[in-house]
Amino acid sequence: MTVVTAGSTTPAPAPAGRPRATGRGRLVLARLLAARGAVVGAVLILLLFALAFGGPYLTPWDYATPDFTALHQPPSAAHWFGTNGVGQDVFAQTVRGLQKSLIIGLLVALFSTVLASLVGACAGYFGGWADRALMFLVDLMLVFPSFLIITVVSPRLRSSGWIAFVLLLALFNWMITARVVRSMTISLREREFVRAARFMGVRPLRIISRHILPNVASFLIVDATIAVGGAVMSETALSYFGFGVRPPDVSLGTLLAAGTSEAPVFPWMFYFAAALLVLFVLAVNLIGDGLRDALDPTAGGAPRRFRRFRRSGSATRSSRSTPSSSSHSSRSSRPQRRRP
């Protein structure tokens, strides 16, 4: 006889059939590894980072020192990616430029995501005038073409170097994310666990840090990942026109600018940098997409349509008085980041 008595005093048995005590991190990792695109992206990123930071030690050439014996040379054993018009090694330059672009991309994504989450969470949680003022600011900044402002302002910041450029890019890159965070916060604020915390007397800033931000974290992680790609594209585009990174610094953008006019004749000066740029952004986007699926809190690892069906099937009675908590999967709640 297998009689289980679940009175009020005996511990109820743990649900069978569920993975026992699996950490969330491990679950996400398992799902991520199951997504082929994300794995490809991660491998690509690792290789590119290895190239960017290990590359300079592989070649005897320095990115700035010219080799006057080799001008406009195609790729060879001595100069793997060839040389440019003044005899600089294109491999050394590309690797150096990749390094700079990666750092800029990561920093911009970091800064803009932090800013976006703060503004969005505060606007969404406090509502009222704070919300309206912050959203007016967001709209205002969306009306400006960020490119225009950056191009106007960046010559004045020339002396402060590329860090100022990073801040400038971040400053014009947070608005759409902030909007999404805000709308997610608004729906979270009405969720019962946030209400419960409020009724228990937990203070607003603590609610934001303990309940709101962790619950938008998966969106933020995905968004920041994709923002890295967007920032790198912005950087290269601006640098291409001479408004971003400037000599003596090199980035992928300055390399592309230098190589463009000669691309039909000396393709190695252009296409290596172009290919690395596309590969990097592609890898970042693939990881972002994989993460989005892996972090989706509604995901059980099953294909999407199956999930939807099961959810609607089992939500029988809870629909009575719960306001439909809007989908927190970020899949369709925001567009892919536009690139310049």
Binding site: P15, F193, G201, P297, F309, G313, S318
Partner: protein, 692 residues
């Protein structure tokens, strides 16, 4: 109509199996279901969530998503439907078999007018021109009782109320005089009075078209009142099938027996419910043998080796090795299932009530919301009178049930209480403190005395925190020392029947009932005096609900708590509460001791509400007089003079004296307190005091 054994059934489902693609291979949802439906009859399919009842209904029409694999046979008048090409199936859908879905808001395309969507259903199968289809749509809306059908044709789905949408859905389903109506939880999202209307419409539609009805529901009461025959599903199989009377009278499967015992009833009260232990078997990894064996008090050795087939005499079949024994012995649920001993609560009588210390006293509470229009520059265009005169009186050690349908202002009342601020109008006194006079520090201290348990245990627990931290949160908010938190958390987990070792787990690792226990533990953490329970069991399955209700009862007795128990489910209130307060349109319309209010309701709304609750007893259901309320509650944006219930009041409609009518039209009724029985009060000018 006479049926002979050789007649081909209208619909015959044989060995239906449905698998869904899962991460680790296919997961079964339906595992060999046999069903037979005869012309004109009503078949009820009942089961808890995940039992496969909805999937069964959907697979009849081939409406499952592409990831589902269906095998077996579904024959309509002898014609095989499984594997039929899409075009042929489309000709049957809506024409021979029509479907009514659960959630009528999402089931209508939001961008098309109701009339166009119904007319479309007509024109898919009948060669008629647009004006004819539109006229037909208006007739159908009229049939299901939608007022001013010509105007309703041009409404968009979001402009209809839930009940209206479900009526329109039924109108659309019967547009082509189908032979079979499949209704998948058609009343689940609706209030009881609206549910009663919709079930009535469904019966009317069935009568008008002569269609057979398959009614899928989790609600035994709905099934008992509507079905001719019933199939009970568990873990993707039919475990018992019988005529409705036989099934409820003498169930032959322990699961059916448990379900009936777990249900709190409107016509009985008190004591412990019969919980079915454990949780439903996981479909992804079913054990060998009977899937119910792990929860079954009658399980034997052989139950865990082979799964019993559906057997028994022709009319009444059960899939249990001991069904013959059950058929013969006819035990009560409590004779089979272990029932927990509940500690004796101090008896609460009406005389007792006034002598107890008051915990919560609310009088004349009012709360309005500005009705805003516009997206950016909002302007006030009116007021929503969400709460408009609520009186509550809760004494120490009591449970006060707060009953009302959606929109009655229950939730707003709760939030006003929990805010611990000055109410817009009226007065709230909590444990002797007038909340309008509290300082911030006092309010923060008082918060510890008042805790809440929400409806949806998934939504009320932060998915990103381990349950140990969740339970500790109110302690931290009250700045409890670290050692106390470390000591309290395991203690609380044990108290609500959970394993203290599970404190590091996350909410998603628990079942619904267990999550609700976590929620209760959190509320108890700061040793409150008053627990506000906002629909605490309405998101749970019946078998799980019973365990949580039992827990609440024993905690109350052990800890001397008072409960303010909010629910739309009158059976649960009847079972648990000592006193009850009924709300309609933001006002308290009747209050008193539970047995007094339920047995001798004085307000016509309470009477209607009680009569709308379906009883899980077919005989009693048939014998009952039903008071159907007309229409939906009026919008709370208008504050009419006179009695707000007048528009739907059957009593008012029967009044003949002009003076009596005028009183209802002009004078707002207040709770009467000048009768002999001053405890049982109703806000009606013509309360029904004469016993009938």
């Amino acid at each position: 109509m006479t049926t002979t054994a050789v007649e081909t059934p209208l619909l015959a489902v044989r060995d239906l199996r449905v698998d869904f693609a899962g991460p680790h291979g296919p997961v079964p949802a339906v595992r060999g279901v046999d069903l037979t439906l005869r012309r004109g009859e009503t078949l009820g399919i009942v089961g808890e969530s995940g039992s496969g009842k909805s999937v069964t209904a959907l697979s009849v029409l081939g409406l499952l998503p592409a990831t589902a694999r269906v095998s077996g046979s579904v024959r309509l008048d002898g014609r095989e439907l499984v594997g039929l090409p899409g075009r042929d199936l489309a000709a049957i859908r809506g024409r021979r078999i029509a479907m009514v879905f659960q959630d009528p808001l999402s089931a209508f395309t939001p961008v098309y007018r109701i009339g166009d969507q119904i007319a479309e259903a007509v024109r898919v199968h009948q060669r008629v021109d647009k004006p004819t289809a539109r006229r037909r749509a208006a007739e159908l809306l009229d049939l299901v009782g939608i007022p001013a059908p010509d105007r309703a044709l041009d409404s968009f789905p979001h402009e209809f109320s839930g009940g209206m949408r479900q009526r329109a859905m039924i109108a659309m389903a019967v547009a082509n005089q189908p032979d079979i109506l499949l209704a998948d939880e058609p009343t689940t999202a609706l209030d009881v009075t609206i549910q009663a209307q919709v079930l009535d419409v469904l019966r009317t539609a069935q009568r008008e078209t002569g269609a057979a009805l398959v009614l899928v529901s989790h609600d035994l009461g709905v099934i008992a009142g509507t079905a001719d025959r019933v199939a009970v599903m568990y873990a993707g199989r039919v475990v018992e099938t019988a005529g409705v009377d036989a099934l409820f009278e003498a169930p032959r499967h322990p699961y059916t027996l448990g379900l009936i015992g777990a249900l709190p009833r409107l016509d009985g009260r008190g004591g412990a419910l019969v919980p079915i232990p454990g949780t439903p078997a996981p479909m992804a990894e079913l054990p060998p043998g009977c899937p119910f064996a792990a929860r079954c008090p009658l399980a034997e050795e052989r139950c865990s080796t082979a799964e019993p087939a559906l057997g028994g005499d022709g009319g009444h079949q059960a899939a249990c090795v001991r069904s013959a024994e059950l058929a013969e012995r006819r035990p009560a649920p409590s004779e089979v299932y272990p029932v927990p001993e509940l500690p004796d609560a101090p008896a609460a009588g009406p005389a007792d009530h006034s002598s107890r210390a008051p915990v919560l006293a609310v009088s004349g509470l009012g709360k309005t919301f500005p009705l805003l229009k516009g997206t950016v520059f909002k302007r006030r265009v009116g007021e929503v009178y969400a709460v408009d005169g609520v009186d509550l009186d809760l004494r120490e050690g009591e449970t006060l049930g707060l009953v009302g349908e959606s929109g009655s202002g229950k939730s707003t009342t709760l939030f006003e209480l929990l805010r611990l601020g000055a109410p817009e109008t009226g007065r709230i006194e909590l444990l002797g403190h007038d909340t309008a006079r509290l300082t911030r520090a006092e309010a923060q201290r008082l918060r510890a005395q008042l805790q809440i348990v929400f409806q949806d245990p998934m939504a009320s627990l932060d998915p990103r925190l381990p349950i140990g931290d969740i339970i500790a949160e109110p302690l931290r908010a009250q700045r409890a020392p670290r050692e106390e938190i470390a000591r309290r958390v395991p203690e609380l987990l044990r108290q609500v029947g959970l394993d203290p070792d599970h404190a590091a787990r996350y909410p998603h690792q628990f079942s619904g009932g267990q999550r609700q226990r976590v929620s209760i533990a959190r509320a108890l953490a700061v040793r409150p005096k008053l627990l506000v329970l906002d629909e605490p069991v309405s998101a749970l399955d019946v078998s799980i609900q019973a365990g949580v209700l039992n827990l609440l009862q024993s905690l109350k007795a052990e800890l001397g708590l008072s409960y303010l128990f909010v629910s739309h489910d009158l059976s649960v209130i009847r079972h648990l509460a000592d006193r009850v307060s009924v709300m309609y349109l933001g006002r308290t319309v009747e209050q008193g001791e539970v047995s007094a209010v339920f047995d001798r309701p004085r307000h016509p709304y309470t009477r209607a509400l009680l009569s709308a609750v379906p009883l899980p007893d077919p005989a009693a259901e048939r014998a009952r007089d039903r008071i159907l309320l007309a229409g939906d509650p009026p919008s709370p944006t208008e504050r009419r003079t006179g009695c707000p219930f007048r528009t739907r009041c059957p009593l008012y409609a029967r009044l003949t004296e002009a003076a009596d009518r005028a009183r209802c039209e002009q004078e707002r009724p207040a709770l009467d307190g000048d009768r002999a029985d001053a405890d049982h009060r109703a806000a009606c000018h013509h309360p029904e005091d004469s016993s009938d």
